[in-house]
Symmetry: C2
Subunit: 336 residues, 2 copies
């Protein structure tokens, strides 16, 4: 910067002024400075600027499982919204490990991110954030007790959608392959499922609820367990992407025809769903919008000065899911 100033024959602060448009500089000097910047291919040092201003124009994002295609879709949304607001995103994967998540959060705070977007890996207690005030918005997974600064799908309603679809097809013995129930979306889906069943006057056998972690292997094992129950459920509702795939594997392994012998429905969409055999019926969350909405919510908290009411609220947002009916759900088998 000193070099730029020297080359342009102006003072350092003049350079700063044209860089930030913070003061009026004469046309001619502005041009000289621009040329000098060009010639030296100078780029302002973000680090130094941050040290001075206290803002880094960076947000941190912590998600629990990047290999679950839902999260990359959310990330795309976050990224696009952040870029538009000229923010950089520091992205981390906690691998469903609360300890790792804590340490990641510490790192982010230590890097002075201006805000954090978090999909909790752990329990619903919520992370212990450093004393230093750092705005945080929860995405997808929301600790209990959080009343604002969160965006997630209305999972209760989403499960209702799925359950009602099965009910309409005549199913009565519906099993839930749930994720870890301390995690809000999975809890919400369980509740939506149970209430819908109850509202229809149907009991749910406790053994029809299987809780497990959210990996394909667990879905496979859980599916096998549910399918060997007597009487066997006629439909399985899988609480996410990976569980759905795992349970599909168990269905195939047990030589059950889907949907003629068993209906399968799950959450989250995926390009490949269209091409599986059978094509899978799912409840689709608006993942990309979740990302953009989360960033905007965080932005409002980071920059209350720029608050524009039309950009939405900074409180709690519940996004609507929609049902995509494909081939894996069908009428309940006549023999049952």
């Amino acid at each position: 910067m000193r070099d730029v100033a020297r080359l342009a024959g102006v003072s350092i602060s003049t350079v700063s002024a044209v860089l930030n448009g913070t003061a009026v500089v004469s046309e001619e000097r502005t041009e000289r400075v621009r040329r000098a910047i060009e010639a030296l291919s100078f780029a302002p040092d973000h680090i130094a600027r941050s040290l001075k201003t206290g803002r880094t124009n960076t947000i941190g994002v912590v998600i629990p499982d990047i290999t679950n295609a839902f999260y990359p879709a959310v990330l795309r949304g976050i990224e696009d919204a952040a870029r538009e607001a000229r923010y950089t995103v520091l992205f981390c994967n906690s691998n469903e490990d609360p300890a790792e998540e804590q340490s990641l959060l510490k790192v982010l705070v230590s890097r002075r991110v201006d805000g954090i977007l978090l999909a909790c890996s752990g329990d619903t207690i919520g992370p212990v954030l450093s004393r230093r005030h750092c705005p945080i918005v929860f995405v997808d997974r929301v600790p209990i007790g959080i009343k604002e600064g969160a965006v997630t799908t209305d999972n209760y309603e989403a499960a209702e959608l799925a359950t009602r679809h099965l009910l309409d097809l005549g199913h009565r013995r519906i099993a839930l392959l749930g994720g870890r129930l301390q995690i809000s979306p999975h809890l919400g889906r369980l509740q939506g499922f149970l209430r819908t069943m109850n509202a229809a006057g149907l009991p749910v056998l406790p053994e029809y609820i299987h809780e497990c972690d959210m990996q394909i292997e667990s879905g496979y094992a859980g599916g096998k367990k549910l399918l060997s129950l007597q009487p066997r459920p006629t439909a399985i509702l899988a609480s996410n992407n990976k569980l759905l795939l795992g349970s599909l594997r168990s269905v195939q392994e047990m030589n059950l025809k889907c949907p003629s012998q068993l209906s399968l429905i799950g959450f989250d969409d995926h390009a490949w769903n269209e091409h599986l055999n059978p094509r899978l019926t799912t409840v689709i969350q608006p993942a990309y919008e979740m990302g953009t909405c989360a960033f905007r919510t965080l932005f409002r908290r980071m920059r209350p000065d720029l608050d524009r009411p039309e950009d939405g609220n900074s409180g709690m947002t519940f996004l609507k899911a929609r049902l995509e009916i494909r081939e894996s759900t069908g009428p309940v088998p006549a023999a049952l």
Copy 2:
């Protein structure tokens, strides 16, 4: 930090010393400092430290398409290796847009990342990096002319593997659904394909080579085009994940049975391949290892002082792909 020093009754530099283990501090004062840090829940300011040291302990990663499951797998590898070396990863998605990629690169340099891992979105020319020296290692996609600082699959050999598999099944009319051929993996795959065909004394009709961008829709359109050629190819080799899926869609839409009427093979693996109908035969790249290897290669360039020869080289690494034979490839139809 000043507060910590005051509370512990020592000087600022003593605090710095215990923080960084940069000098020997007496047991007792160390303990006092620790307690003060604890009490104030103090965390050192990474920004300020970086300004001073010139190192940020951060690397930037730019990938072209996060919704292609191959890249999240690579990212997992990068992340794990980076974490082990106490580096943070600044991650960006260029969306296959060279201009975006350039701007991302600038941002990263401006943030003083210590190094960059890049899978080029654009042509093979390679990005223009800022004057400021910043080590860069190419991952997966390598500009032509790069002779060191890159890790990628041996795509030539990988294509050979796939082509030979089809040849062994009796196929002669094999079409290639290639990605953009300015992009190194796709070019390498084309070359491996052509050479293998030629070595077997088989001609490849120019219209059997279809070049397109790497999205599902393009694979679908390209597949339809290839399948309406006369004579129709008996096998299609798709140059990645998404193209494979798109071409599968076209096969299904044209009511062709796979593999009895047409064999399909592609690159990159995916948990869902196992469950598609048919289960897809693919050439699998070691994505996770590509990530870890890329980080280590970069590390050697960022910290030549810590160079440990046993950690591999800092030059060019070619990883081996392997063939996973599933159901989408079979003997060439008898009638043809």
